[in-house]
Amino acid sequence: MNTTSGGLLLVLAMLGPFVGVLAGLVLGGRNPQRVALLTVVVGIGIALAIANTWLTSGSPVVYLLGGWAPPLGIALRADGLSVAMMLVIAVVVAGIAVYACADFGTPPDQHEARAPFTFWLLLLAVWGSLNLVFVSGDLFTLYVALELLTFAGVPLVCLDGRGETLRAALRYLLFALAGSILYLLGAVLLYGGYGTLDIALLAERVRPEPIVWAAAALMTTGLLAKTALFPLHLWLPPAHAGAPAAASAVLSALVVKGSWFLVLRLWFDVMPGVVTLPSAQLLGGLGAAAIVIGNIVALQQARLKLLIAYSTVAQIGYLFLMFPLAFDALSAALVHGDALAGGMLQAVSHATAKAAMFMAAGLVYKVYGHDRIAELAGAARAVPLTVLTLALSGVALMGVVPSGAYLAKKLLLSAAEGTDQWWWALVLQVGGALTCGYVVLVLINTLRRSSVPVTPKTPVPRLQEIAALALASCSLLLAFAAIGVAPASGDLIKNPLAPQEILQTLTTVAAGAVIAFGFGRSLPVAWARAGANGLAGSVRHATLAVGAIFERTDGALRRWEVASLALLVVAALFGWAMMAA
């Protein structure tokens, strides 16, 4: 193994944001914002340079720290997955930085303000940690990167200093720390067994034996706690809903991707032959449960930000559906194929769409002073660009042509067909309909006309609306970018206007509308009010009762004792599932 040309760029990608943090801290005042914007420009350039190097060389970009090769030294390695994630994260950070200029600008009469100062530094810190996650070549550097990411993400939750958000931040921190200590325990066991933590070397040495099963179970569970996969999602809804809009965008779109990427590295690169089909099915099963419960509880929410937070819980479930679909029965191992491409595309499109959604929710807050879904009438007339952003990002999450999620769904469906796992195809379709449900719910309420024209409580800067809309458009047009990089995937959507595709899209939308009217709580139509008579009333009564059951189950699972016990149960289940027959 040798340092390849352009390897130094990997170091710059990781160091650049942290140099920005230090510079901002030292310069103080209103300089963090300027430093952050400068770093965004430089960082995008570095990400593009790394992508160019990788494309021209055709092999992973490697950098050996100090010139020492593993197992003595540490290697930074960027393959196709890393390059794709780094590019997308750079774009999302740029969008959030532009949006946050209005929210987190230091007031002109103050030399330095606490929340803006902290926000800009934390934004850069999150970005630097994520780049480190993507380029790390060994498990311990990944642990450090993961902890950096948590420390940078937690204060974003409580930027406004209220007691409720401080509680949410503490809960997040403690649960994330439990997750990372389990990950470290797994890494320690792997070192004890094989004498190295380098990913490439471990991949050669790892065998299916008890120490690897234990390590895999512990590390996976720890990472799932940090990614908030069902049933370990107790911290996510209050944390993401309580943070300011730009911070929620960072948390939902960026921070959860870090630990998810680590699960990917662990399962696909370190132990592809050791993980068994039952363990992959377990991971996919937890994802499916997340999709169902997250979406139905999202429909019950009265507040827009909580709805979007629960939709994140559901979308995180989507990210784990690719694991059982990537399992190749012949070689009894996970392979890099359609399913992996679909999962990556899903993650990338979720990052852009979710950031845009949270930004739009922040703008809605500015207009109304609240975000109660049932009282958002007149939004389409007052802030049409914002409602358009909500619609576009909702469509992008749903998986309709030509969004990235559509191509991702097609790739996953073809993988399901290829491996004869029809149940995941069913989960994908149901998930699409459920996602459509809450998008329809939000749009019904915002497209309603209000009797009195709505005047914004705080003026909404055009720049913020454009930033949010730009990110939502990115998500929608992602399919074209993907086809540009991997032309083979063009076959999958070569005719999006074919009758079969249109029929499928219409079925999804129709099912979503039915679900919205059935399960959504904040509906403005008369027959949806509680206590209405007739058939519609009684059906509605029944569906609301079902929704309430889901909500109470979710509430029970999000209690500290239950969730932390679930940590141990999930770890035990993974360990048992990994034991080779």
Binding site: F140, E147, P238, P244, W560
Partner: protein, 114 residues
């Protein structure tokens, strides 16, 4: 007769178990933070035992785990510092430090306050 690394490994397992028990069961936040530190100590002790077991070439212990261990201690220490800082701030703002959820309230504005 049990060798030293094995005995230390068993101690580490006991520490991790006690720590996880405290982490799950204790409702007080400060005790959860302490429990996390106990689990951390167990993991680091295990790493040290592995270093001792992997000793060779005249060294007392494998140096790589010792280096990683020190990094881990620093990370756990910073984590504890952040958690305690949040706890102190929560006490200043809210008076109590319980993590029990309060009913969701709606803030006045969505942007960060200064």
């Amino acid at each position: 007769m049990m060798s030293a690394p094995t005995l230390l490994g068993i101690c580490a397992a006991v520490l991790i178990g006690c720590g996880m028990y405290g982490f799950i069961v204790n409702p007080q936040t400060l005790r959860k933070i302490l429990a996390f530190n106990v689990v951390g100590s167990g993991v680091f002790l295990l790493f040290g035992a592995i270093a001792r077991r992997g000793a060779g070439a005249g060294f007392g212990g494998d140096p790589v785990p010792q280096a990683l261990l020190i990094t881990g201690i620093v990370v756990a220490f910073s984590a504890t510092a952040l958690a305690v800082a949040l706890l102190v701030r929560l006490h200043d703002v809210a008076g109590s430090v319980s993590l029990a959820s309060d009913p969701p309230s709606e803030p006045e504005s969505d942007a960060g306050s200064t």
